[in-house]
């Protein structure tokens, strides 16, 4: 009973509670800035990285320029489908330097709704300079815009 009536040390309890609040506040404040690997920011960065790698690899193999300049849109689509994971949807548009759309057929895979509803859409821009033909080699750049989203 003497312990209950003892009024000494109550301030310590209040201090500890206050201090705990300070620690919890500090922890949650730090946590606000933490970016976990599942965050949307990482997802978009990951998709962008993937998009750049795929286009660069296709270009290195000499396929991308051939498909674009000989307008083999189905082959581009097939190449992207093979190289990208199944759950990654894509939409590609090819422009010339006057911002005129060059591809008359759609280069698209996935659910169209994904691109309108998804918050995490990555966009990758890639430039090509031209493609030589037997008696003709002209500088005629193309701008490729590849949009990627997870299905």
């Amino acid at each position: 009973m003497g312990t209950i009536r003892n009024s000494k040390g109550q301030m310590r309890v209040i201090e500890t509670i206050l201090a705990s609040f300070i620690i919890v506040f500090a922890m949650s404040f730090v946590n606000m800035f933490a970016i976990t690997p599942t965050s949307p920011k990482y997802d978009v960065t990951d998709l962008e990285k993937m998009g750049y790698s795929v286009l660069h690899d296709l270009d290195k193999q000499g396929l991308l320029a051939r498909f674009v300049y000989t307008e083999e849109w189905d082959n581009i689509k097939a190449a992207l489908r093979v190289t990208l994971p199944l759950d990654v949807y894509f939409s590609m548009t090819v422009y010339d330097l006057h911002d005129t759309k060059v591809n008359n057929a759609t280069i698209f895979y996935g659910n169209p709704e994904t691109f309108t509803t998804s918050k995490n859409i990555a966009s990758v821009t890639y430039g090509l300079i031209g493609y030589p033909k037997r008696n003709e080699a002209i500088y005629d750049p193309r701008i490729l815009i590849l949009q990627l989203a997870r299905g």
Binding site: S7, Q10, M11, R12, I14, E15, T16, L18, A19, I22, I23, F25, A26, M27, F29, V30, F33, A34, I35, K41, Y42, T45, E48, K49, Y52, S53, L55, H56, D59, K60, G62, A65, L97, T125, Y126, G127, L128, I129, G130, P132, K133, R134, N135, E136, A137, I138, Y139, P141, I143
Partner: protein, 238 residues
């Protein structure tokens, strides 16, 4: 309550916890800065960007050489100037600046980065440009690379009795070009019956062009590679 408020003991604990909280926040901020710097900077994306600019600059040098071997116009400088301007438009917001220097090497007698020495037994077409790439948004300055395009055609021998011409075609670093077919060759005033390739001890790979008609004393062979670069070589039988 008054007693509690007036109690002057224990403030040190609050100060100590406040300091601990400040330390946690500071360490947290430092950790955040250190971890997210490497995780958030898309280095691979930047490497691919640099790689794609380098690759397409090389392609442009090859394309300009291919154009020069088909037409007498040296378009390399004009094309590089356009590419320099168009890069900032294609990759907006990166702060890309690409500078170039055209080769003026006396070995190959380059003229504004391009050289053609044709109508000899060993003929060649060559292009050479050195680039300097700066990307201000990622703090990249002074990234240098050299783009070289080269195609050599050498007529090794001509066998009149069998109407066969043996040639070797080499690219950069004197590596043999392996993927050439009948459509890649032309023999002046003669039709080609077939083109075959075989291993050679000295040249690694040689092409044997079999002509449909009788070979004259002077043979002129032209070759195009997959990049569209052309070379013409001439061989006189003594």
């Amino acid at each position: 309550m008054k007693k509690l408020i007036k109690n002057k003991k224990g403030q040190f604990i609050i100060i100590a916890f406040l300091m601990i909280a400040m330390m946690i926040i500071s360490i947290g901020a430092l950790m955040h800065g250190a971890v997210t710097y490497y995780k958030h900077e898309p280095w691979q994306e930047y490497l691919t960007l640099i790689g794609s600019i380098e690759l397409n600059s090389r392609h442009l040098v090859e394309l300009s050489l291919a154009n020069y071997t088909h037409t007498p116009d040296n378009t390399l400088r004009a094309n590089l100037q356009k590419w320099q301007n168009n890069l900032t438009r294609i990759y907006r917001g990166y702060g890309i600046a690409l500078n170039y220097t055209l080769a003026s090497d006396t070995n190959y007698n380059y003229s504004l980065g391009l050289a053609c020495d044709w109508n000899k037994t060993a003929s060649f077409s060559a292009a050479n440009a050195t680039f300097n790439l700066n990307i201000t948004s990622i703090g990249l300055t002074g990234y240098k690379f050299t783009a070289v395009a080269f195609l050599n055609l050498t007529i090794l021998n001509v066998k009149a009795p069998t109407n066969e011409i043996t040639v070797t075609v080499k690219g950069e670093d004197k590596t043999p070009i392996t993927n050439l077919e009948k459509d890649n060759f032309q023999v002046e005033e003669l039709n080609i019956a077939s083109v075959t390739s075989r291993y050679d001890q000295d040249h690694i790979l040689v092409y044997i062009i079999k002509c449909a008609e009788n070979i004259s004393t002077i043979v002129t062979v032209t070759v195009w590679d997959q990049r569209g670069i052309q070379v013409t070589a001439k061989y006189s039988q003594s």
